[in-house]
Symmetry: C2
Subunit: 278 residues, 2 copies
């Protein structure tokens, strides 16, 4: 079965609609501040996509744009203003930030209540402790939401994650553990990747290396979720090779899989933050 | 080989001695505040053991004792005072706290700079992100310190953790990932525990169930670290059965293994916190 992201995104948007209406009846419009330094094409296209999604759902985006050569203090001031602004419910800081910015310091500035993309270490720690109130990074949560939408069970299943980034692999490990999966994390230093992957019921590829997961990594009845976002000869490509996809029982495509769901998770997080703030 | 904790603890205490002397020459004595509510026998004996260790190293303990029926606000006030006191470098809150206390709220009160037992979610999140400045819970770090002392390599090795507590399993997963191990976490919901353990180069038992790890869980050339602390018929017993220990290439005893090292890690953390504060 192909695990397409679009139907899952639509279902999620549908699920948060009553809450948006309920907030609206109380005069509250869920509002996300998107903080951007510079104008990287990736950032602009992601910002455009979420602006469209938020508008369609009756929610708002506030754009906070700083020049690419902005100083640390200007960025800190902007985030502090948004964090203190009661009409802003969520804050998304587009990353990577320019090299002159101390990204770790910036990450801890967004208070956990508004940290809808789980960038603050305090949010991550709470996710690791299994606290349901905390926000996880949207891409990591989109993986879980995609599996849930297609009713693929997690409890007691062996899930192998290939990749340990701060925005996907590590928080996903925490989310899956909270869902009672037996979780393994592999990475570039893993000695025998195929052996470590072969026993998995669910294999999540989030290493950012095109074609890393091949047919020999995929065991019988395995669900393969591809989180890779790689540009290869001008085409968007995942981490999973075609032969691996063909062997999988279920697989998520790239594009049109996890990536198609991330914006809907961001919307759901913002609505939840707005609901808590009221 | 038996991985005895005492030599590792002595080596660690020896390693921090120059820093204690250097601080002393600047008139600074590393100082840990131990916050206790009530008088549980476990807490008293742990407090006594660390008081002895700190005294031997020329460091100080400040005891902050509240009645068992203390209110949330009294405990919050005490911790806030200690957190703001520049002569206190580390704060340890003995747990479990009495049932009327919101333990999660208390955990986030200790600022990460003084959080020498890694109870604040922000500390945990930083550990998960691989930040070296953050403090991990001492028991979790004692496991890594024990393996390091006996020069058992971690990078590229398959480490299976049995147990996912907030103080051992989860932070240990983060610490081992930062050390380039391929990490798997098993727990009560794991379908086939023996199968999940059998391939491990290093098996860490921290489930708190006596005899949980048996010989069938231990593969060839496996190092078994026992973090279990169970009282069975009045005797301190780990999670690893005798037959499993006998089959292991290396094993840590209970008592006298990881537990013997925890206090030295707490000392090292407090000295590090004092060094940063000066």
């Amino acid at each position: 079965m192909e695990l397409a992201g679009l139907p899952a995104a639509q279902a999620l948007a549908e699920r948060v609609r009553p809450e948006i209406e309920s907030l609206g009846s109380r005069g509250v419009t869920p509002r996300l501040a998107v903080v951007r330094a510079g104008a990287r094409p990736d950032d602009l296209s992601y910002e455009k996509a979420i602006a469209k999604r938020f508008a369609a759902a009756g929610c708002e985006i506030r754009h906070a744009v700083l020049p690419e050569d902005c100083g640390q203090s200007a960025l800190v001031r902007e985030i502090a203003l948004l964090d203190g602004d009661k009409t802003v419910h969520g804050i998304l800081v587009l990353r990577p930030l320019p090299p002159q910015i101390d990204a770790a310091r910036v990450a801890s500035l967004v208070s956990p209540e508004k940290d809808v993309d789980g960038m603050n270490p305090a949010s991550l720690g709470r996710i690791l402790l299994g606290e349901r109130d905390a926000f996880a990074p949207c891409t990591a949560e989109a993986v879980v939401a995609l599996l849930d939408h297609y009713e693929i069970p997690l409890a007691g299943k062996r899930v192998t994650i290939v990749g340990r980034s701060a925005v996907v692999g590590r928080p996903l490990m925490a989310l899956l553990l909270a869902r009672d999966a037996t979780v393994s994390v592999c990475h570039t230093k893993t000695a025998d990747l195929a052996c470590a992957c072969h026993e998995a019921d669910i294999l999540v590829a989030c290493a950012g290396r095109p074609g890393l997961v091949t047919a020999e990594h995929v065991g019988a009845c395995c669900t393969v979720v591809d989180v890779g976002v790689n540009m290869v000869e001008g085409r968007l490509t995942g981490d999973v090779a075609a032969a691996a996809r063909a062997k999988a029982l279920n697989f998520s495509p790239v594009p049109g899989g996890v990536g198609a769901l991330t914006g809907a998770v961001l919307l759901a997080h913002t609505v939840r933050a707005a609901g808590k703030a009221v």
